[in-house]
Protein backbone atom coordinates (compact mmCIF):
# COMPACT_ATOMS: atom_id res chain seq x y z
CA UNK A 1 0.00 0.00 0.00
CA UNK A 2 2.83 2.38 0.87
CA UNK A 3 4.15 1.83 -2.66
CA UNK A 4 0.92 3.23 -4.05
CA UNK A 5 0.94 6.25 -1.76
CA UNK A 6 4.60 6.96 -2.58
CA UNK A 7 3.96 6.66 -6.32
CA UNK A 8 0.66 8.46 -6.83
CA UNK A 9 2.43 10.87 -9.14
CA UNK A 10 3.65 8.09 -11.41
CA UNK A 11 0.25 6.35 -11.43
CA UNK A 12 -1.47 9.64 -12.30
CA UNK A 13 0.93 10.38 -15.13
CA UNK A 14 0.62 6.87 -16.57
CA UNK A 15 -3.17 7.03 -16.34
CA UNK A 16 -3.27 10.21 -18.38
CA UNK A 17 -0.93 8.65 -20.96
CA UNK A 18 -3.06 5.54 -21.03
CA UNK A 19 -6.25 7.47 -21.66
CA UNK A 20 -4.61 9.52 -24.38
CA UNK A 21 -3.32 6.43 -26.18
CA UNK A 22 -6.69 4.62 -25.93
CA UNK A 23 -8.89 7.52 -26.97
CA UNK A 24 -7.67 7.79 -30.55
CA UNK A 25 -8.17 4.10 -31.46
CA UNK A 26 -11.65 4.11 -29.92
CA UNK A 27 -12.62 7.20 -31.91
CA UNK A 28 -11.02 5.97 -35.13
CA UNK A 29 -12.64 2.56 -34.63
CA UNK A 30 -16.04 4.22 -34.44
CA UNK A 31 -15.49 6.43 -37.49
CA UNK A 32 -14.05 3.69 -39.72
CA UNK A 33 -16.62 1.11 -38.72
CA UNK A 34 -19.51 3.28 -39.93
CA UNK A 35 -18.78 2.91 -43.67
CA UNK A 36 -17.53 -0.67 -43.20
CA UNK A 37 -20.54 -1.64 -41.10
CA UNK A 38 -22.81 -0.05 -43.69
CA UNK A 39 -21.19 -2.13 -46.44
CA UNK A 40 -21.69 -5.24 -44.34
CA UNK A 41 -25.31 -4.30 -43.68
CA UNK A 42 -26.24 -3.16 -47.16
CA UNK A 43 -24.94 -5.78 -49.56
CA UNK A 44 -25.19 -9.50 -49.04
CA UNK A 45 -22.01 -9.99 -51.04
CA UNK A 46 -19.90 -7.66 -48.90
CA UNK A 47 -21.55 -8.82 -45.69
CA UNK A 48 -19.97 -12.29 -45.57
CA UNK A 49 -16.64 -10.92 -46.74
CA UNK A 50 -16.46 -8.01 -44.28
CA UNK A 51 -17.56 -10.00 -41.29
CA UNK A 52 -15.10 -12.80 -42.02
CA UNK A 53 -12.24 -10.36 -42.46
CA UNK A 54 -12.94 -8.40 -39.29
CA UNK A 55 -13.46 -11.66 -37.41
CA UNK A 56 -10.03 -12.86 -38.53
CA UNK A 57 -8.38 -9.52 -37.73
CA UNK A 58 -9.49 -9.85 -34.15
CA UNK A 59 -7.77 -13.23 -33.78
CA UNK A 60 -4.32 -11.92 -34.80
CA UNK A 61 -2.17 -11.84 -31.63
CA UNK A 62 -1.17 -8.30 -30.72
CA UNK A 63 2.54 -9.08 -30.71
CA UNK A 64 2.30 -10.43 -34.23
CA UNK A 65 0.48 -7.28 -35.28
CA UNK A 66 3.19 -5.08 -33.72
CA UNK A 67 5.77 -6.99 -35.75
CA UNK A 68 3.75 -6.97 -38.99
CA UNK A 69 2.69 -3.33 -39.12
CA UNK A 70 6.14 -1.63 -39.23
CA UNK A 71 7.38 -3.31 -42.44
CA UNK A 72 3.92 -3.00 -44.05
CA UNK A 73 3.45 0.67 -43.27
CA UNK A 74 7.07 1.82 -43.01
CA UNK A 75 6.71 2.94 -39.42
CA UNK A 76 9.02 2.31 -36.50
CA UNK A 77 8.50 -0.81 -34.39
CA UNK A 78 9.02 1.00 -31.11
CA UNK A 79 6.57 3.81 -31.72
CA UNK A 80 3.26 5.00 -30.38
CA UNK A 81 1.81 5.04 -33.87
CA UNK A 82 2.42 1.29 -34.10
CA UNK A 83 0.37 0.83 -30.93
CA UNK A 84 -2.39 3.19 -32.05
CA UNK A 85 -2.78 1.48 -35.43
CA UNK A 86 -2.86 -1.98 -33.88
CA UNK A 87 -5.50 -0.91 -31.34
CA UNK A 88 -7.50 0.77 -34.10
CA UNK A 89 -7.55 -2.47 -36.07
CA UNK A 90 -8.98 -4.33 -33.08
CA UNK A 91 -11.51 -1.56 -32.47
CA UNK A 92 -12.64 -1.70 -36.11
CA UNK A 93 -12.86 -5.48 -35.85
CA UNK A 94 -15.29 -5.21 -32.94
CA UNK A 95 -17.25 -2.18 -34.12
CA UNK A 96 -17.94 -3.24 -37.71
CA UNK A 97 -20.17 -6.11 -36.65
CA UNK A 98 -21.96 -3.90 -34.13
CA UNK A 99 -22.60 -1.17 -36.71
CA UNK A 100 -23.94 -3.75 -39.20
CA UNK A 101 -26.25 -5.19 -36.53
CA UNK A 102 -27.22 -1.70 -35.38
CA UNK A 103 -28.30 -0.67 -38.88
CA UNK A 104 -30.23 -3.91 -39.22
CA UNK A 105 -32.01 -3.15 -35.93
CA UNK A 106 -33.75 -0.09 -37.41
CA UNK A 107 -37.39 -0.94 -38.05
CA UNK A 108 -38.09 -1.32 -41.79
CA UNK A 109 -41.40 0.53 -41.45
CA UNK A 110 -39.64 3.58 -39.99
CA UNK A 111 -37.18 3.53 -42.87
CA UNK A 112 -40.06 3.31 -45.33
CA UNK A 113 -41.88 6.12 -43.58
CA UNK A 114 -38.78 8.30 -43.97
CA UNK A 115 -38.70 7.48 -47.69
CA UNK A 116 -42.41 8.19 -47.98
CA UNK A 117 -42.14 11.72 -46.56
CA UNK A 118 -39.26 12.56 -48.87
CA UNK A 119 -35.87 11.90 -47.28
CA UNK A 120 -33.19 11.40 -49.91
CA UNK A 121 -30.92 8.37 -49.47
CA UNK A 122 -27.92 10.28 -48.07
CA UNK A 123 -29.95 12.39 -45.70
CA UNK A 124 -31.95 9.41 -44.53
CA UNK A 125 -28.76 7.56 -43.60
CA UNK A 126 -27.36 10.37 -41.45
CA UNK A 127 -30.61 11.69 -40.01
CA UNK A 128 -32.70 8.54 -39.62
CA UNK A 129 -30.83 5.23 -39.99
CA UNK A 130 -27.68 6.14 -38.06
CA UNK A 131 -29.36 7.96 -35.14
CA UNK A 132 -31.84 5.10 -34.74
CA UNK A 133 -28.94 2.63 -34.85
CA UNK A 134 -27.41 4.69 -32.02
CA UNK A 135 -28.32 2.50 -29.03
CA UNK A 136 -26.74 -0.62 -30.57
CA UNK A 137 -23.73 1.38 -31.81
CA UNK A 138 -23.31 2.66 -28.27
CA UNK A 139 -23.40 -0.90 -26.90
CA UNK A 140 -20.59 -1.73 -29.32
CA UNK A 141 -18.65 1.37 -28.39
CA UNK A 142 -18.77 0.39 -24.72
CA UNK A 143 -17.34 -3.05 -25.51
CA UNK A 144 -14.69 -1.44 -27.72
CA UNK A 145 -13.73 1.14 -25.11
CA UNK A 146 -13.26 -1.40 -22.32
CA UNK A 147 -11.40 -3.77 -24.62
CA UNK A 148 -9.10 -1.05 -25.97
CA UNK A 149 -8.28 0.32 -22.53
CA UNK A 150 -7.36 -3.17 -21.35
CA UNK A 151 -5.45 -4.08 -24.52
CA UNK A 152 -3.52 -0.81 -24.49
CA UNK A 153 -1.30 -2.14 -21.70
CA UNK A 154 0.58 -4.36 -24.18
CA UNK A 155 2.09 -1.13 -25.52
CA UNK A 156 4.76 -1.52 -22.86
CA UNK A 157 6.15 -4.48 -24.87
CA UNK A 158 7.13 -2.07 -27.65
CA UNK A 159 8.39 0.54 -25.25
CA UNK A 160 5.30 2.73 -24.94
CA UNK A 161 4.72 3.86 -21.36
CA UNK A 162 1.22 3.58 -19.97
CA UNK A 163 -0.39 1.68 -17.10
CA UNK A 164 1.17 -1.48 -18.58
CA UNK A 165 4.48 -0.14 -17.20
CA UNK A 166 3.26 -1.01 -13.69
CA UNK A 167 2.91 -4.67 -14.73
CA UNK A 168 6.39 -5.14 -16.19
CA UNK A 169 8.15 -2.92 -13.66
CA UNK A 170 6.27 -4.51 -10.76
CA UNK A 171 7.17 -7.94 -12.06
CA UNK A 172 10.86 -7.16 -12.54
CA UNK A 173 11.13 -5.56 -9.09
CA UNK A 174 8.82 -8.10 -7.44
CA UNK A 175 6.46 -5.42 -6.08
CA UNK A 176 3.02 -7.03 -5.95
CA UNK A 177 1.38 -3.77 -4.88
CA UNK A 178 2.63 -2.12 -8.07
CA UNK A 179 1.11 -4.83 -10.28
CA UNK A 180 -2.17 -4.68 -8.38
CA UNK A 181 -2.21 -0.89 -8.61
CA UNK A 182 -1.88 -1.27 -12.40
CA UNK A 183 -4.77 -3.72 -12.58
CA UNK A 184 -7.00 -1.57 -10.38
CA UNK A 185 -6.17 1.60 -12.33
CA UNK A 186 -7.02 -0.08 -15.66
CA UNK A 187 -10.30 -1.43 -14.30
CA UNK A 188 -11.23 1.91 -12.77
CA UNK A 189 -10.64 3.96 -15.91
CA UNK A 190 -12.45 1.34 -18.00
CA UNK A 191 -15.46 1.61 -15.69
CA UNK A 192 -15.34 5.40 -15.63
CA UNK A 193 -15.19 5.64 -19.43
CA UNK A 194 -18.01 3.11 -19.68
CA UNK A 195 -20.19 5.21 -17.36
CA UNK A 196 -19.32 8.34 -19.29
CA UNK A 197 -20.42 6.69 -22.52
CA UNK A 198 -23.73 5.70 -20.94
CA UNK A 199 -24.31 9.26 -19.73
CA UNK A 200 -23.33 10.65 -23.12
CA UNK A 201 -25.72 8.20 -24.79
CA UNK A 202 -28.59 9.36 -22.59
CA UNK A 203 -27.85 12.97 -23.41
CA UNK A 204 -27.60 12.36 -27.16
CA UNK A 205 -30.49 9.88 -27.40
CA UNK A 206 -33.13 11.07 -24.94
CA UNK A 207 -35.77 9.29 -27.00
CA UNK A 208 -34.33 5.81 -26.43
CA UNK A 209 -36.08 3.78 -23.79
CA UNK A 210 -38.69 6.45 -23.05
CA UNK A 211 -42.37 5.60 -22.75
CA UNK A 212 -43.18 2.17 -24.23
Amino acid sequence: MTWVVDNLDLIGRLTVEHLRQSALPILLGLLLSIPLGWLAFRFRLTRGLMLTVVGLLYTIPSLALFALLPPLLGISFLSEINLVIALTIYAVAIMTRFVADALASVEPHVRQAADAVGYGAWRRFWQVDLPLAGPVVLAGLRVTAVSTISLCTVGILIGIDNLGYLFTNGYQRQIVAEILAGVVAVVVIALVIDRLLVVLGRALMPWAGKGA
Binding site: V110, Q112, A113, A114, V117, W207
Partner: protein, 273 residues
Protein backbone atom coordinates in the same frame (compact mmCIF):
# COMPACT_ATOMS: atom_id res chain seq x y z
CA UNK B 1 -56.59 14.80 -60.50
CA UNK B 2 -54.71 11.51 -60.46
CA UNK B 3 -55.05 9.13 -63.38
CA UNK B 4 -53.94 5.49 -63.56
CA UNK B 5 -53.61 4.29 -67.17
CA UNK B 6 -53.40 0.51 -67.63
CA UNK B 7 -51.04 0.14 -64.71
CA UNK B 8 -49.58 -3.26 -63.86
CA UNK B 9 -47.17 -4.27 -61.16
CA UNK B 10 -45.35 -7.58 -60.98
CA UNK B 11 -42.95 -7.83 -58.04
CA UNK B 12 -39.50 -9.34 -58.67
CA UNK B 13 -40.62 -12.62 -57.05
CA UNK B 14 -43.32 -12.96 -59.73
CA UNK B 15 -46.34 -11.81 -57.69
CA UNK B 16 -48.86 -10.03 -59.92
CA UNK B 17 -50.03 -7.45 -57.41
CA UNK B 18 -51.75 -5.18 -59.94
CA UNK B 19 -53.05 -6.33 -63.33
CA UNK B 20 -54.14 -3.65 -65.80
CA UNK B 21 -55.60 -1.05 -63.47
CA UNK B 22 -57.17 2.17 -64.76
CA UNK B 23 -58.85 4.80 -62.61
CA UNK B 24 -59.45 8.52 -62.45
CA UNK B 25 -59.20 10.05 -58.98
CA UNK B 26 -61.02 13.40 -59.18
CA UNK B 27 -59.40 16.40 -57.54
CA UNK B 28 -60.59 17.73 -54.16
CA UNK B 29 -62.57 14.61 -53.30
CA UNK B 30 -61.95 11.45 -51.34
CA UNK B 31 -61.48 8.20 -53.23
CA UNK B 32 -61.41 5.07 -51.09
CA UNK B 33 -59.76 1.88 -52.31
CA UNK B 34 -61.31 -1.02 -50.47
CA UNK B 35 -60.62 -4.72 -50.83
CA UNK B 36 -59.50 -7.73 -48.88
CA UNK B 37 -55.94 -8.32 -47.74
CA UNK B 38 -53.49 -8.73 -50.60
CA UNK B 39 -55.73 -7.18 -53.24
CA UNK B 40 -53.02 -4.63 -54.12
CA UNK B 41 -54.28 -1.50 -52.34
CA UNK B 42 -50.95 -0.54 -50.78
CA UNK B 43 -49.17 -1.24 -54.05
CA UNK B 44 -51.53 1.16 -55.87
CA UNK B 45 -51.02 3.85 -53.24
CA UNK B 46 -47.26 3.54 -53.27
CA UNK B 47 -47.15 3.86 -57.02
CA UNK B 48 -48.65 7.36 -56.69
CA UNK B 49 -45.57 8.65 -54.85
CA UNK B 50 -43.12 6.36 -56.65
CA UNK B 51 -42.28 4.22 -53.62
CA UNK B 52 -43.16 1.43 -56.05
CA UNK B 53 -42.56 1.71 -59.81
CA UNK B 54 -45.23 0.27 -62.14
CA UNK B 55 -44.11 -2.60 -64.37
CA UNK B 56 -46.10 -1.06 -67.20
CA UNK B 57 -48.65 1.68 -67.75
CA UNK B 58 -48.43 5.21 -66.45
CA UNK B 59 -49.73 7.44 -63.69
CA UNK B 60 -50.41 11.12 -64.20
CA UNK B 61 -51.00 13.91 -61.75
CA UNK B 62 -52.89 16.81 -63.34
CA UNK B 63 -52.02 15.44 -66.75
CA UNK B 64 -48.30 15.19 -66.06
CA UNK B 65 -46.72 11.69 -65.97
CA UNK B 66 -45.05 11.20 -62.59
CA UNK B 67 -42.36 9.00 -64.14
CA UNK B 68 -40.67 12.23 -65.20
CA UNK B 69 -40.69 13.76 -61.71
CA UNK B 70 -37.85 13.42 -59.23
CA UNK B 71 -39.16 10.80 -56.75
CA UNK B 72 -37.88 12.54 -53.63
CA UNK B 73 -39.36 15.92 -54.60
CA UNK B 74 -42.58 14.20 -55.66
CA UNK B 75 -42.91 12.54 -52.24
CA UNK B 76 -42.46 15.83 -50.43
CA UNK B 77 -45.31 17.28 -52.47
CA UNK B 78 -47.68 14.48 -51.43
CA UNK B 79 -48.86 13.86 -47.87
CA UNK B 80 -48.63 10.23 -46.74
CA UNK B 81 -50.24 8.77 -43.62
CA UNK B 82 -49.12 5.27 -42.66
CA UNK B 83 -50.90 2.63 -40.65
CA UNK B 84 -48.64 2.68 -37.61
CA UNK B 85 -48.18 6.42 -37.76
CA UNK B 86 -44.74 5.86 -39.24
CA UNK B 87 -43.41 8.62 -36.99
CA UNK B 88 -39.67 9.00 -36.48
CA UNK B 89 -39.12 7.71 -32.94
CA UNK B 90 -36.11 9.95 -32.31
CA UNK B 91 -37.86 13.20 -33.20
CA UNK B 92 -40.23 15.08 -30.93
CA UNK B 93 -43.84 15.47 -32.04
CA UNK B 94 -43.25 19.03 -33.22
CA UNK B 95 -40.25 18.01 -35.33
CA UNK B 96 -42.07 15.03 -36.76
CA UNK B 97 -44.78 17.38 -37.96
CA UNK B 98 -42.17 19.83 -39.27
CA UNK B 99 -40.31 17.08 -41.19
CA UNK B 100 -41.34 17.93 -44.73
CA UNK B 101 -40.97 21.68 -44.19
CA UNK B 102 -37.42 21.08 -42.89
CA UNK B 103 -36.61 18.79 -45.82
CA UNK B 104 -37.77 21.56 -48.14
CA UNK B 105 -35.39 23.98 -46.47
CA UNK B 106 -37.70 26.00 -44.22
CA UNK B 107 -35.69 27.44 -41.29
CA UNK B 108 -36.16 25.48 -38.05
CA UNK B 109 -38.01 28.13 -36.07
CA UNK B 110 -40.42 28.95 -38.87
CA UNK B 111 -41.05 25.24 -39.53
CA UNK B 112 -41.84 24.63 -35.85
CA UNK B 113 -44.26 27.56 -35.73
CA UNK B 114 -46.08 26.23 -38.77
CA UNK B 115 -46.07 22.71 -37.26
CA UNK B 116 -47.62 24.01 -34.03
CA UNK B 117 -50.46 25.54 -36.05
CA UNK B 118 -51.04 22.22 -37.79
CA UNK B 119 -51.28 20.51 -34.38
CA UNK B 120 -54.23 22.79 -33.69
CA UNK B 121 -55.79 21.90 -37.02
CA UNK B 122 -55.79 18.16 -36.27
CA UNK B 123 -57.01 18.72 -32.73
CA UNK B 124 -53.83 17.90 -30.81
CA UNK B 125 -52.99 19.83 -27.70
CA UNK B 126 -49.80 21.88 -28.06
CA UNK B 127 -48.63 20.50 -24.72
CA UNK B 128 -47.85 17.25 -26.55
CA UNK B 129 -45.44 19.01 -28.93
CA UNK B 130 -42.30 18.22 -26.94
CA UNK B 131 -43.07 14.52 -26.44
CA UNK B 132 -41.53 11.64 -28.32
CA UNK B 133 -43.90 9.40 -30.32
CA UNK B 134 -43.52 6.51 -27.85
CA UNK B 135 -45.05 8.77 -25.19
CA UNK B 136 -48.33 9.10 -27.11
CA UNK B 137 -51.40 6.88 -27.40
CA UNK B 138 -52.06 5.13 -30.70
CA UNK B 139 -54.81 7.60 -31.57
CA UNK B 140 -52.57 10.58 -30.80
CA UNK B 141 -49.79 9.09 -32.94
CA UNK B 142 -52.23 8.81 -35.84
CA UNK B 143 -53.18 12.46 -35.45
CA UNK B 144 -49.52 13.41 -35.50
CA UNK B 145 -49.16 11.31 -38.65
CA UNK B 146 -52.03 13.26 -40.25
CA UNK B 147 -50.52 16.56 -39.07
CA UNK B 148 -47.15 15.65 -40.61
CA UNK B 149 -48.84 14.80 -43.90
CA UNK B 150 -50.68 18.14 -43.92
CA UNK B 151 -47.87 20.40 -42.70
CA UNK B 152 -46.44 21.33 -46.08
CA UNK B 153 -49.97 21.87 -47.44
CA UNK B 154 -49.86 19.25 -50.20
CA UNK B 155 -52.68 18.95 -52.73
CA UNK B 156 -52.71 15.18 -52.47
CA UNK B 157 -53.07 13.08 -49.34
CA UNK B 158 -52.44 9.32 -49.36
CA UNK B 159 -53.72 7.38 -46.37
CA UNK B 160 -52.95 3.67 -45.97
CA UNK B 161 -55.26 2.10 -43.39
CA UNK B 162 -54.49 5.02 -41.12
CA UNK B 163 -56.98 3.98 -38.46
CA UNK B 164 -56.49 0.22 -38.67
CA UNK B 165 -54.57 -0.11 -35.42
CA UNK B 166 -56.69 1.91 -33.00
CA UNK B 167 -59.71 0.85 -30.95
CA UNK B 168 -63.24 1.34 -32.39
CA UNK B 169 -64.06 4.44 -30.33
CA UNK B 170 -60.89 6.30 -31.25
CA UNK B 171 -61.35 5.07 -34.79
CA UNK B 172 -64.81 6.63 -35.02
CA UNK B 173 -63.39 9.85 -33.58
CA UNK B 174 -60.59 9.95 -36.13
CA UNK B 175 -63.01 9.21 -38.97
CA UNK B 176 -65.23 12.10 -37.91
CA UNK B 177 -62.15 14.30 -37.67
CA UNK B 178 -61.07 13.28 -41.17
CA UNK B 179 -64.49 14.21 -42.56
CA UNK B 180 -64.35 17.59 -40.82
CA UNK B 181 -60.81 18.27 -42.09
CA UNK B 182 -61.72 17.32 -45.63
CA UNK B 183 -64.69 19.71 -45.57
CA UNK B 184 -62.28 22.51 -44.72
CA UNK B 185 -59.27 21.57 -46.79
CA UNK B 186 -60.63 19.89 -49.93
CA UNK B 187 -57.56 17.77 -50.58
CA UNK B 188 -57.41 15.08 -53.22
CA UNK B 189 -57.46 12.12 -50.85
CA UNK B 190 -56.74 8.49 -51.72
CA UNK B 191 -57.68 6.39 -48.72
CA UNK B 192 -57.02 2.66 -48.36
CA UNK B 193 -59.00 0.42 -46.05
CA UNK B 194 -60.41 -3.08 -45.88
CA UNK B 195 -63.34 -1.85 -43.80
CA UNK B 196 -66.32 -1.31 -46.09
CA UNK B 197 -68.15 0.82 -43.52
CA UNK B 198 -65.18 3.15 -43.31
CA UNK B 199 -65.10 3.27 -47.12
CA UNK B 200 -68.78 4.26 -47.36
CA UNK B 201 -68.41 6.79 -44.55
CA UNK B 202 -65.40 8.63 -45.95
CA UNK B 203 -65.53 8.07 -49.69
CA UNK B 204 -67.01 10.35 -52.32
CA UNK B 205 -65.88 7.67 -54.75
CA UNK B 206 -65.42 4.09 -53.59
CA UNK B 207 -63.39 1.55 -55.57
CA UNK B 208 -64.00 -2.09 -54.66
CA UNK B 209 -61.03 -4.28 -55.54
CA UNK B 210 -60.57 -8.01 -55.83
CA UNK B 211 -57.25 -9.87 -56.14
CA UNK B 212 -54.76 -8.31 -58.54
CA UNK B 213 -56.39 -4.90 -58.00
CA UNK B 214 -59.20 -5.90 -60.36
CA UNK B 215 -61.90 -3.22 -60.14
CA UNK B 216 -65.13 -4.93 -59.11
CA UNK B 217 -67.06 -1.65 -58.97
CA UNK B 218 -66.48 2.10 -58.86
CA UNK B 219 -69.08 4.56 -57.72
CA UNK B 220 -70.48 6.67 -54.94
CA UNK B 221 -71.52 4.77 -51.79
CA UNK B 222 -75.20 5.19 -52.75
CA UNK B 223 -74.64 3.87 -56.27
CA UNK B 224 -72.82 0.81 -54.95
CA UNK B 225 -75.33 0.00 -52.20
CA UNK B 226 -78.31 0.58 -54.47
CA UNK B 227 -76.90 -1.37 -57.39
CA UNK B 228 -74.08 -3.78 -56.60
CA UNK B 229 -72.36 -4.76 -59.86
CA UNK B 230 -72.22 -8.48 -59.07
CA UNK B 231 -72.37 -11.12 -56.35
CA UNK B 232 -68.79 -10.40 -55.27
CA UNK B 233 -69.64 -6.78 -54.55
CA UNK B 234 -72.95 -7.68 -52.94
CA UNK B 235 -71.33 -10.11 -50.55
CA UNK B 236 -68.40 -7.78 -49.91
CA UNK B 237 -70.64 -4.91 -48.88
CA UNK B 238 -72.93 -7.22 -46.98
CA UNK B 239 -76.26 -6.45 -48.66
CA UNK B 240 -77.15 -10.14 -48.58
CA UNK B 241 -76.78 -10.55 -44.86
CA UNK B 242 -75.61 -8.50 -41.93
CA UNK B 243 -76.04 -4.87 -41.06
CA UNK B 244 -76.89 -3.58 -44.51
CA UNK B 245 -79.56 -6.16 -45.38
CA UNK B 246 -82.56 -4.33 -43.99
CA UNK B 247 -86.13 -5.52 -44.27
CA UNK B 248 -89.32 -3.69 -43.50
CA UNK B 249 -91.49 -4.86 -40.65
CA UNK B 250 -94.95 -3.50 -40.04
CA UNK B 251 -95.87 -2.84 -36.46
CA UNK B 252 -98.82 -1.16 -34.76
CA UNK B 253 -96.75 1.99 -34.49
CA UNK B 254 -95.65 2.16 -38.12
CA UNK B 255 -93.08 0.54 -40.36
CA UNK B 256 -89.56 -0.14 -39.05
CA UNK B 257 -86.41 -1.60 -40.60
CA UNK B 258 -84.86 -4.75 -39.17
CA UNK B 259 -81.48 -6.32 -40.01
CA UNK B 260 -80.69 -9.92 -40.84
CA UNK B 261 -80.65 -10.87 -37.18
CA UNK B 262 -84.11 -9.36 -36.62
CA UNK B 263 -82.83 -6.36 -34.64
CA UNK B 264 -84.66 -3.11 -35.30
CA UNK B 265 -82.31 -0.64 -36.90
CA UNK B 266 -84.57 2.33 -37.60
CA UNK B 267 -87.94 3.70 -38.57
CA UNK B 268 -89.15 4.00 -42.15
CA UNK B 269 -90.15 7.57 -42.99
CA UNK B 270 -91.04 9.11 -46.32
CA UNK B 271 -88.26 11.04 -47.97
CA UNK B 272 -89.05 14.74 -48.19
CA UNK B 273 -87.51 15.16 -51.63
Amino acid sequence: MIEFRSVTKTYPDGTDAVADFSLVVPAHTTTVLVGSSGSGKTTLLRMINRMVEPTSGSIEIDGEPIAQRDPVRLRRSIGYVLQNGGLLPHHRVIDNVATVLRLEGTPKQEAREKAAEVLDVVGLDRSLAQRYPSQLSGGQQQRVGVARALAADPNILLMDEPFGAVDPIVRAELQAETLRLQQELHKTVVFVTHDIDEAFLLGDQVVILSTGAQVAQVGSPSEIIENPADDFVASFIGTERGARALRTKHTDHGTVLVDGAGRTQGRLVESSS
